[in-house]
């Protein structure tokens, strides 16, 4: 079992009747910045937040999406022929396929199946725990040799709690190190049962001010901070990730408040400063949506280093870019 096999497993497009089921949009082998060592990173679909800077915009919706990569399109027009709802968009002369009308698209997958060039993709496959076990077993030796393991990321993995719990239990059954990357905007009752199966939590602190947080991510940070402190109480190891977004959350006051929070939590093992990148732009184009931060530049090296230094005052292990 391999993710490349699964990409063209058309059965995995349909919601299965087995439980627990997981909707996953990517499985990356040799992930190297998400929890230490060589890891396999499973990206869950669906997220309760909608951060302006999201670098995986295809992860946000709780259902499948469709994307169009223009560079790959060979203009064979087969998609136009097979689409039952005329959702394929063309340019004004009707010569070139330019995208997919998401209002019309019913995600039936007909165009995807016929798109041999790989320009059209349905984002999101239904995976079973057995599928995951088969995938991670492939790289088990690499995890052992490098101190790596498996990371559940997204999107928001805790948003599919039944599947995540079963997956975590299976991974622990294999003796693998487990990491979960979560935004923590999830009811404690939903989060708590998962925690005993997690070796490392990766969580973002995006902004300390509830209103600003709301403006940047679509939700207030109250639940997030409450969960963060609860987890500290339980002593579960956490790496805190700080997305550093130029002009939006990089003011000293906010960063200092974040550092103070971290200083108060003994379970924080390290801090990863993640400088804003514009990688989300391409994916937004492919999804046919607009990118909110088109004019925002990545932070300067000096600003990134200053931020890292600030956090070095409260944590021993501070990286730029993750570990």
């Amino acid at each position: 079992m391999n993710w490349t096999d699964k990409l063209y497993d058309f059965d995995a497009l349909q919601k299965p009747d087995w439980e627990p089921k997981g909707l996953v949009f990517d499985v990356q082998r040799f992930a190297i910045h998400d929890g230490g060592g060589i890891r396999t990173n499973v990206f869950f679909k669906g997220c309760p937040l909608n951060c302006l800077w999201c670098q995986n915009p295809e992860s946000i919706r709780w259902r499948q999406d469709i994307s169009f990569v223009e560079q790959h399109c060979i203009q064979c027009r087969k998609c136009i022929a097979v689409c039952p709802v005329s959702a394929i968009k063309t340019d004004s002369c009707e010569e070139r396929v330019t995208g997919i009308d998401k209002e019309k698209c019913i995600l039936c997958g007909a165009c995807f199946k016929t798109c041999y060039a790989g320009a059209i993709n349905i984002i999101g496959r239904w995976l079973s725990v057995e599928d995951l076990v088969a995938m991670v077993n492939r790289d088990r030796d690499f995890y052992v040799a490098s101190g790596g393991g498996i990371t559940f990321s997204g999107g928001e993995p805790t948003g599919q709690p039944k599947f995540l719990l079963a997956a975590l239990q299976a991974m622990q059954g294999l003796g693998l190190h487990t990491a979960v990357e979560t935004c923590l905007h999830v009811p404690w009752e939903q989060l708590e049962p998962l925690l005993s199966h997690v070796d490392l939590l990766l969580t973002d602190i995006k902004h300390m001010d509830p209103e600003r947080h709301g403006a940047l991510t679509g939700v207030s940070n109250e639940l997030i901070l409450e969960n963060f402190r609860n987890i500290a109480g339980l002593g579960i190891p956490v790496r805190v990730r700080i997305p550093l977004i130029t002009g939006l959350n990089d003011d000293v006051a906010n960063l200092q408040a974040t550092a103070d929070l971290i200083a108060s939590c003994k379970n924080v093992q390290g801090v990863d400063v993640l400088p804003y990148n514009r990688l989300g732009i391409s994916k937004c184009h492919q999804l046919g949506c607009d990118y909110a931060l088109a004019d925002v530049a990545p932070p300067s090296t000096e600003s990134v280093e200053a931020t890292a230094d600030l956090f070095r005052s409260v944590a021993d292990d501070v990286t730029v870019g993750g570990m």
């Binding site: 391999n2 790289d139 040799a145 490098s146 990148n277 514009r278 870019g321």
Partner: protein
């Protein structure tokens, strides 16, 4: 029972960067443009004219004697290790006795061609045209070898099924002499050995009469090298007279050393390095074979280092080693224009390997192992080639040093797996102790030094062309001629097994022609170009009274390389899946599309590219087919024997022959278009490895690397950020270690540079697997918008 004494290794000995002297010598080195030097060609031609009545062994020895006595020598400022190959640094001698028609044809293009340019003066051209070429017409080794080949074999070579060009046009090289013996006994010791062997001959025995010729040749050539070293002593003394005090002392020391070695046993590190260098150098003046590989230098130089290290100090040791490295980079040879495609970048493949186990199975790492890795980091040149051996007991400090050098992006060291290579050599008849003592010749070819004539680079064989012929009933669609046996047309194939059977039959036919051609060239070398100086340093040539070319060595092999593992695997996997398992396209339909180079069938081609399983992604469907197709090649090669009473053994690496061999293969069922390069070594086809490095090494480890005992080659790309920091080193080590535990043979790492990313931007189809690795993010580089790609490209420049 181990006889190794435990020596504490101080890794700090290898922490020294390049000295000012090294920086200066290197800066000067980089200013030189390769040129053609006419001296050797002129001298050897004169010598051959003088010796026409003599037996070939003596003619060869006298020719070497004349060249070494008559060629220009020089010592450059700041040099401590001396000895030059040509009248100018980085220039190339000419070896007309091997072949020279190509040179005559290409003389005016040498300075103008695309790759591996050599300047050539009008004066040199005139010498070659007037004095050299006329004599050699009809007398070269190449012409003799051709006369031994069947028309079918020549046709197959012409069509690009295989090429034996390397040894056909050049010397064989690909050897590691007994440097230890030279250091311990000196060349006078070898002369004495030859004298003793002569004394035991029966002068009336016809066989012994032949041996006497060879032994006389050994003696003449060794004495000629001793005289050559003395010329440098004279020159150093001459220069010393006009030098300032500091340089004068250095030059007088150089003079003292050159009077002593390589004639006598070496004492101390500088004497050992100088003795080594004269031998290494003269082997590359005697013959134009490349891949003269020093192999386990950290082992045989260690006693001289250990005795001298307190006296010299670590910085001086490093400086001497760095200077030797630059000397090695200065060796050069000119190849014909076609061969520069297969051997691009002035490579000489002088392979040095450090680490591994000793003859008793104990870890052999020592401080010199680390110093030699540091020398590669300090000099940062394309040569010499540096390799490392890995075994269960490889110490952490060795792993780390090797990983640190690897991430500099030089493509070195190459990593080798004792766990696979020792058993592979055992299975080819080496003793256990000899197998443990292996080193690497040239690119990736293992053997034990000082007693092997491995003929490792015997040919490049296009497995992909063979599959093409199997799908064309033996007809060559590119050359438009019936080339192979009729093994059925695509309309006749009812099952996938029928396709494989046709491939197998074509393979049998062409591997036989391949081995025939190699043996023709082999016989020619024995007759025309025996190498007495080289042979005196290879066991058991003196004892047997035979040159290595005639079978004087203890171990004899011939190793032709299969090229196109991934293409054949991916092609057969696509046929199996689409034409037979799923029947979405018939084989004749597929073949018709291929015949038109997929013109008007781009959808089909995209299906082949994107929907067929691909070797290199840890996908068993594709990998099993690749393994099967490769095994068929390997099993055929193993059936044959060479004239030196040795066996053929297969390898799977291309140097860069995947490019020229690909240029004569039409479109293939993996979606590759006509004329595109074949895949490199056992690496996946570029752009098809979309599952990351762990998947790639899992796939590659499925091949039988023990059977491919002439060597396999995996190139793996890493982005610089994935190797950053202490954690990055651990990841590189973990990938290597796991690959080797699973049965890998060789791997080398290329750090993705700005240049690669720019190429990926321009040619996205070749880089579909190139991943942008950012925390919590996953995407392929080639699907990003151009502006974002540019961001990443500019960032990469900062990191690397």
């Amino acid at each position: 029972m181990s006889q190794k004494q435990t020596v504490q290794i101080n890794s700090a000995v290898a922490d020294h960067g390049p000295s000012d002297r090294v920086e200066q010598v290197k800066a000067r080195f980089l200013t030189y443009t390769p040129e053609v030097c006419p001296e050797r060609a002129r001298l050897i031609t004169e010598s051959y004219k003088e010796t026409e009545a003599l037996p070939m062994h003596l003619r060869r020895a006298k020719a070497l004697e004349k060249v070494l006595a008559g060629m220009s020598i020089f010592i450059e400022d700041d040099e401590l290790i001396v000895g030059n190959q040509c009248s100018k640094p980085r220039s190339t001698p000419i070896f007309p006795e091997f072949s020279c028609q190509w040179l005559e044809d290409e003389l005016d293009r040498l300075a103008k061609r695309q790759a591996d340019v050599f300047l050539i003066s009008e004066e040199t051209k005139a010498i070659l045209r007037d004095e050299v070429f006329p004599y050699w017409a009809g007398k070269t080794n190449q012409e003799y070898a051709t006369s031994l080949m069947t028309p079918e074999a020549l046709d197959a070579q012409g069509a690009g099924v295989f090429t034996v060009g390397n040894y056909y046009f050049n010397g064989v090289g690909h050897i590691s002499v007994d440097y230890k013996k030279v250091l311990e006994k000196g060349l006078e010791g070898i002369v004495a050995e030859a004298d003793a062997a002569k004394a035991s001959l029966d002068c009336a025995d016809p066989e012994d009469m032949k041996k006497r010729q060879f032994l006389d040749a050994v003696i003449i050539s060794n004495k000629a090298v001793i005289a050559f070293a003395n010329r440098f002593a004279d020159e150093a003394e001459r220069l010393a007279a006009g030098a300032d005090a500091a340089r004068k002392a250095e030059l007088l020391e150089v003079a003292r050393i050159c009077r002593k070695v390589p004639a006598q046993p070496a004492e101390g590190l500088q004497e050992a390095l100088q003795s080594f260098w004269f031998v290494q150098l003269v082997i590359q003046i005697e013959s134009n074979g490349h891949s003269i590989s020093p192999m386990r230098m950290d082992q045989y130089l260690y006693p001289y280092y250990a005795a001298d290290k307190e006296n010299l100090g670590a910085e001086k040791v490093q400086e001497l080693m760095d200077l030797l490295w630059i000397k090695m980079a200065g060796i050069n040879k000119v190849r014909d224009e076609n061969s520069t495609q297969a051997f691009g970048g002035y490579p000489m493949f002088q392979n040095i390997i450090v680490g591994g186990v000793d003859r008793h199975g104990e870890d052999a790492t020592n401080e010199l192992s680390l110093v030699m890795m540091q020398a590669t980091a300090n000099t940062a040149l394309y040569a010499p080639s540096l390799s490392v051996r890995i075994h269960e007991g490889t110490p952490t400090l060795f792993w780390k040093k090797a990983a640190e050098v690897a991430r500099l992006g030089l493509g070195m060291p190459a990593w080798y797996n004792d766990r696979v290579i020792v058993p592979a050599l055992l299975s080819r008849g080496l003793s256990l102790e000899d197998a443990r003592d292996y080193g690497i010749i040239g690119c990736v070819e293992p053997q034990v030094g000082g007693k092997t004539e491995g003929w490792h680079d015997a040919a490049f064989f296009s497995m992909s062309k063979v599959l093409e012929l199997a799908l064309n009933n033996g007809y060559d669609p590119m050359g438009k001629a019936q080339l192979g046996p009729q093994t059925g047309s695509v309309e006749d194939f009812k099952t996938f097994d029928d396709v494989v059977a046709a491939y197998q039959k074509q393979m049998e036919y062409f591997v036989k022609l391949l081995c025939h051609s190699d043996n023709a060239v082999d016989l020619a070398h024995a007759k025309n170009v025996p190498l007495p100086f080289l042979s005196g340093m290879v066991e058991d040539c003196i004892g047997r009274g035979k040159s290595v070319q005639e079978g004087g060595a203890i171990y004899n092999f011939t190793g032709p390389q299969g090229v196109g593992v991934a293409n054949v695997g991916d092609s057969l996997a696509a046929i199996k899946k689409f034409c037979f398992d799923e029947q979405v396209v018939s084989l004749p339909e597929l073949k018709a599309a291929m015949d038109k180079d997929f013109e008007g069938a781009e959808e089909l081609r995209q299906m082949l590219v994107n929907r067929a399983p691909k070797y290199g992604n840890d996908d068993d469907y594709a990998d099993e087919v690749a393994v099967m197709a490769t095994d068929i090649y390997c099993a055929e090669v193993e059936k044959y024997r060479n004239p030196r009473k040795g066996i053929f053994q297969p390898g799977l690496y291309p140097v860069s022959a995947n490019v020229p061999l690909g240029s004569v293969v039409a479109a293939t069922p993996d979606g590759r278009k006509c004329g595109q390069p074949l895949a490199d070594g056992v690496s996946p086809q570029g752009g098809f490895d979309v599952s990351g490095p762990t998947a790639t090494v899992c796939s590659v480890a499925k091949l039988d690397h023990t059977v491919a005992s002439n060597g396999t080659l995996l190139n793996q790309k890493f982005s610089p950020d994935s190797l950053a920091g202490e954690d990055g080193l651990q990841k590189l080590i973990a990938v290597t270690d796991t690959f080797f535990k699973r049965g890998g043979f060789h791997v080398q790492y290329n750090v993705v540079s700005r240049k690669v990313l720019e190429d990926a931007q321009a040619n996205p189809d070749n880089y579909r697997g190139l991943v942008v690795r950012v925390a919590g993010y996953s995407a392929f580089f080639t699907v990003l918008d151009k502006s974002i790609q540019n961001d990443i490209i500019s960032r990469t420049e900062q990191v690397a």
